[in-house]
Assembly symmetry: C2
């Protein structure tokens, strides 16, 4: 970690000029919080990255459209209902969410971003959303606690809230970046069933902000896979309101841009690992590393293939060093590689050399596999391209959670 990057306690409201709230308006049957608003007291530069699924949720499509302005004052997100695949009414409902929020915040509807996550194919109960937005706007404040409530309100099957807050200094001025995210099923690059909102008081030009977000997403959020399913509602949005009053970051080759991007990457890496580790039913975080691939494409094919393999994921759940399944997944990935060069390590323990079994101490393997975080390294010895992905194991609970999600 860059020593200029300091992880601090905080929440999505830690950057200067950000307010948040999270309330329960009845979208979730269990009565948990299900509507969050994050807003900036001034107009912020705003960018996003979005699901590549051909099918897109209505709230997300709206955000993609209004973000072309590059500005936003608020984000309103509901959980418990994806507002997806419900026809024109879904578009109207997303507009209504923004209209209601902007009306209460006295800004233009296009300055309000919308997000929804939950079950697909059900109309949003707008009476509940309406009262939820009124409630959430009335509770907006800058306390750390309000930020945490927002983080909780965007959760679906997540078991823990996911957040980071980082402080850096730009030209002597303290700058804060904070983020929240939700997982935790239907997760796979590109962009998971994942919604993340990032706030910062950094003063940074819009084009620099987009560049930083896109670069960082490719290395972090797009390297998370829980079940290989790419959702229709995934998005990451960032709002930068400039209230830190640092010298504006406007140069792609400046130290300031590098530092900002490093800090953003650090934070998003934390969120990404938290999402993978909190994957539905997960008992373990798996980091799959591919080393020395011939090309980037080969490396990406291999990490995706291994991370998606139910056989690899159930073996990890069972703490079984069944490396044959890893090599098999590499083999059917479609990547160009020579199996006779391939070495596989579980943690530091080599279990396969040149594509063949290597005798290893099962008790050492067992002790590595009993950890909460497991690193699997596949060294192809073919080229010089490395890549990685975070995923989790497949457990009974994954089946339990997903066998009855709508009910």
């Amino acid at each position: 970690m860059n020593e200029d990057i300091k992880l601090i306690n905080g929440s999505i409201t830690s950057p200067i000029g950000f307010l948040a709230s999270g309330v329960a308006c009845g979208l979730k049957k269990n009565g948990n919080a299900d509507l969050a608003i994050v807003s900036s007291t001034n107009m912020a530069n705003a960018c996003g990255v979005f699901t590549k699924n051909v099918v897109k949720g209505h709230s997300l499509k709206r955000t993609m459209r209004v973000l072309k302005n590059g500005k936003a004052k608020a984000v309103v997100i509901n959980s418990g209902n994806a507002n997806a695949c419900v026809g024109n009414q879904g578009d109207k409902d997303a507009d209504t969410m923004a209209d209601l929020t902007s009306g209460l915040l006295s800004c233009h509807p296009d300055e309000v971003l919308t997000g929804s996550t939950g079950v697909i194919g059900l109309l949003l109960p707008m009476d509940k959303v309406r009262s939820g937005i009124a409630d959430a706007v009335s509770k907006l404040d800058s306390s750390e606690e309000s930020g945490h409530l927002a983080e909780i309100a965007i959760m679906t099957t997540d078991t823990v809230a996911k957040e980071f807050t980082i402080e850096i200094h730009i030209g002597g001025r303290p700058v804060t970046i904070s983020g929240m995210a939700k997982g935790s099923g239907m997760i796979h690059p590109d962009m998971a069933t994942m919604i993340s909102v990032i706030t910062t008081d950094c003063d940074i030009e819009h084009s620099m902000l987009q560049k930083a977000l896109s670069m960082v997403t490719e290395k972090t959020f797009n390297r998370v896979s829980v079940d290989g399913d790419t959702s229709v509602c995934d998005m990451v949005v960032i709002l930068a309101n400039g209230q830190a009053e640092n010298r504006t970051i406007s140069d792609l080759f400046s130290n300031e841009f590098f530092l900002f991007t490093d800090a953003l990457e650090y934070g998003c890496r934390k969120l990404s690992k938290d999402i993978a580790g909190d994957g539905e039913g997960a008992t373990k975080l798996l980091e799959i590393l591919v080393k020395n691939a011939l090309t980037k494409e080969d490396a990406v094919k291999i990490i995706n293939s291994v991370a998606k393999s139910p056989l690899v994921k159930t073996a990890m759940f069972g703490q079984d060093a069944n490396w044959g399944r890893i090599l098999t997944a590499v083999g059917y990935s479609g990547a160009n590689f020579n199996p006779d060069h391939c070495n596989i390590f579980i943690g530091d323990l080599q279990v396969c050399a040149n594509g063949n079994a290597l005798p290893f101490d099962e008790s050492i393997a067992k002790s590595i596999l009993s950890q909460k975080e497991i690193h699997i390294t596949i060294d192809l010895c073919d080229g010089d391209v490395d890549d990685h992905i975070w995923t989790c194991d497949f457990s009974y609970d994954y089946v339990k959670i997903n066998g009855s999600y709508r009910s």
Copy 2:
């Protein structure tokens, strides 16, 4: 079904001139049968189709090599050990299996095909294999029961033996085709962890036999997915010994060739559905149909994407008509399609029209989803290409079986 095709009781020994046996030689810890031999009393035309995994098991690689001769007298298959990824010794052990078998059968080693299925990365205990082969050769006979024993001896996590026997008439002569197969995890096109041996007394030229097998495999075995994992040991081999004494099939455009191919397809379709329905932990067989895709490539991308989706498969296990997950999987498949044209049916019940939710009776959905066999139809209304795949649901037992497979 073509009315000239008659499904009859029988086993892999039903075609004239075929012998089989299945014995336990200690490769499986539970003492179950684990070595099978199928042989023809005369030289047979023989062909195969093989895994496209870059990593290939040693027994399979040997079969690919010797099958270039186009002739075989016997197949020896062990279960419980994949003989894969163990270096040169694995190649030697496959050769030894063939040498031992051919020695006892008084034929050339290259006339013996070899197959292995089970755990990857462990050397075959050749003392056990040696005694197993001697035992199996001594027990070879043409009884239906011996055929069934062979079918059982190739099983791994399968819960039932899989077989078919079909009778057709070619030029007035009865011709029998019989097949056996094992699944049931690490199964995905192209070619599953699936070994199938097909015997027939049909007199058919080698090139016709290969053509028929390749065509049929594309429509049957390559349309089965259990978990998306493509094994390193998958193969289908067919032996045609000509003892039915029908007029030799030698013309690709003859009625005889059509009838033979139809019958083979019927049998392999049965094996394929049996494999999917007996997928590890499966409680249901799922048939995913794509209709009216723009191109074959689009159709194949979609069936694979839906069949591999853990979210679709767990919803089916939970008897939950969560069609949003189906549309989501179509959306991220990479296929070219218009989501606004897409209709989805569960059984005969339409649940999505033009990409949007359609109100439906949940009790009807529940009753459809409580069946053992479920058809999901995705009508894209974009073009005129149809395709299908068979898969199964994802249950607790899948996790249980695969969390501790090696132990």
